[in-house]
Symmetry: C2
Subunit: 336 residues, 2 copies
């Protein structure tokens, strides 16, 4: 069973997931991993993944068979495991707990060579809706506090399978980054009685210099203090703290701006590896006046080196105003 | 001039250093960079670096000429610049300040193919002493609050020059990571009236399972909640909050344990890319009862992917007890 351990100085939690490969030789093998070959995410190979937890589009009721358009399965090598109790324990001055959680793979398309950026909009809507369905379902488990949805694209960004997929991890504690966002947003709200994200949207729409694109319901900006070159945030224009409370009629609009933003990125930096994450309110939280869900998209162009590790400071060679200008001028790439 | 910008939600500062390459094409060129060729850090090429700020070992008084053993020069493409005032300014809801600071390169050896891990101990003492000398000197500038010493080894860890070197960045604000360490350590001290690092050293020496090696004055451990596989910390056994207050007679002991730790790492994971950072008390701080300087060494074996970015949580496949056992059993590699 994986373990959650807390750094006693910083209060930072980490997951020890030794099932994922622990010995020095495992890293050497991993570094030389080759691509191609058998794909467990392709249709016809459903029996090689753990049994699915969700599938859309299958015209018949038989689970774990082909015919699906989007399919969600537990990760075969999970960072956290779903079975067990949330035992908390001390070890001298240290604290740990069982690595209880869920780790799932959202298979975005039956086509092995499909690319997230170029998914047809109706299909992307299904992927975005699958995120919602899984958060809602996992939120029923009282052991979990948060579901982090994320995507790694390209080997440099941590992807280990070629077939287009996103992931989610359900956690028994609120992640530090979400706690910091909630705390920062609440401090602002107490001072101004306004949502800081709404104020950011307002200032960005007025200034225009960091706007990448917008539509009736969403805006994509390069944030004022980006960690990475060409970092982008997608924010709903209307205040809403939780992704799962988004109105159904907005999914198409979200798919449209997500797709456009990614195509613009691909036009500027073809095939760039990237990560994206969904930040939303904690599970079972009431609607929050001070928080605002959003996606953060981080292209992988620079290394996280010693200075960033040691300081928590990021060095970014590209001003967001220039990144936004490149992204606007590039126009969305037409795709393959 | 570079800019320091603050994320309004998290309070996280970032450096916009556009002199370091901003356009999409710059990244493509950078990704295909080749090694070899002219080395500005080699003896004979002193005039191609900015004028040196420190040199040891030169038998004659002529600066910026060969004959040195360790040499420190300003970075030619600095993340922060030394000239100017520390103007602070708002931009609507955002905050920024001038990118004032220092960014220096510590050239660890005149030999181009020297490797930090295999530096002769007497030579490593000079490198460790150069860190001290530069922190002392930069601490006289009232604009600076902190000097972060770090090393990137290997391209995957962010090194852009082959010639063996470390770096330092002097900052006009305390980095978030140091603030968090100081806060966490102070909270513990208020509760227990003991230094948490001293307690960690005590428990680790008693448990032994996470000890990599030790000598009369220092211990190297794999920390209880490591972010990375084979992460190591080097801590002085005696309480001391500031690296620059280390007694001169301890440098040889520090060089010995640093060298041994790195050789053990190299025996387990030959040529692994890594970063290390020095964490020490802020500039001009009085001696602190609650803080304890140390080095953190992080091998680069796993990617920082979407989940880590989005959550601040790290997934580590190697329990530190197993890493320590491998490092102990491997024995220090004899070197090239």
């Amino acid at each position: 069973m994986p373990e959650l351990r807390k750094d006693p100085i910083l209060g930072r939690w980490i997951i020890i997931a030794k099932e994922r490969g622990a010995r020095p030789t495992d890293f050497i093998i991993q570094r030389n991993a080759t691509k191609g070959g058998f794909c467990p995410l392709c249709p016809g190979n459903e029996s090689t993944t753990p049994p699915e937890v969700l599938a859309y589009g299958r015209p018949h009721p038989e689970p774990n068979t082909p015919g699906w358009t989007v399919r969600v399965v537990p990760n075969k090598y999970p960072a956290l495991v779903i079975e067990g109790d949330l035992d908390k324990e001390g070890e001298g001055i240290y604290d740990k707990m069982n690595g209880i959680g869920a780790h799932e793979v959202i298979i975005e398309s039956p086509r092995h060579d499909e690319v997230f950026t170029y998914l047809p909009l109706d299909h992307l809507v299904q992927v975005l809706y699958a995120y919602r369905d899984r958060i809602v379902d996992l939120g029923k488990d009282p052991r979990f506090r948060y579901v982090m949805v994320f995507k790694n694209f390209g080997q440099a960004a941590g992807a280990s399978l070629e077939h287009s997929h996103s992931q989610l991890i359900a956690l028994p504690i609120l992640p530090r980054m979400i706690v910091s966002e909630l705390d920062g947003a609440l401090a602002y709200y107490r001072y101004k009685e306004r949502c800081i994200f709404c104020d950011i949207v307002r200032q960005e729409l007025k200034d225009e210099i960091r706007v990448v694109c917008r539509n009736d319901h969403f805006v994509t900006i390069t944030p004022y203090a980006p960690r990475a070159p060409f970092e982008m945030w997608i924010l709903p224009l209307g205040h809403n703290s939780s992704y799962i409370d988004m109105a159904p009629e907005l999914y198409h609009s979200l798919a449209a701006i997500f797709s456009e933003s990614m195509r613009r990125l691909d036009a500027c930096l073809p095939d760039v590896p990237y990560n994206f994450v969904l930040h939303t309110a904690p599970l079972r939280s009431p609607a929050l006046e001070h928080y605002h869900w959003h996606f953060e998209i981080m292209p992988k162009l620079t290394s996280i080196a010693g200075f960033e590790w040691g300081s928590g400071f990021y060095i970014n060679p590209t001003p967001p105003e220039e990144a936004a200008r490149y992204l606007r001028e590039a126009g969305p790439a037409p795709g393959p």
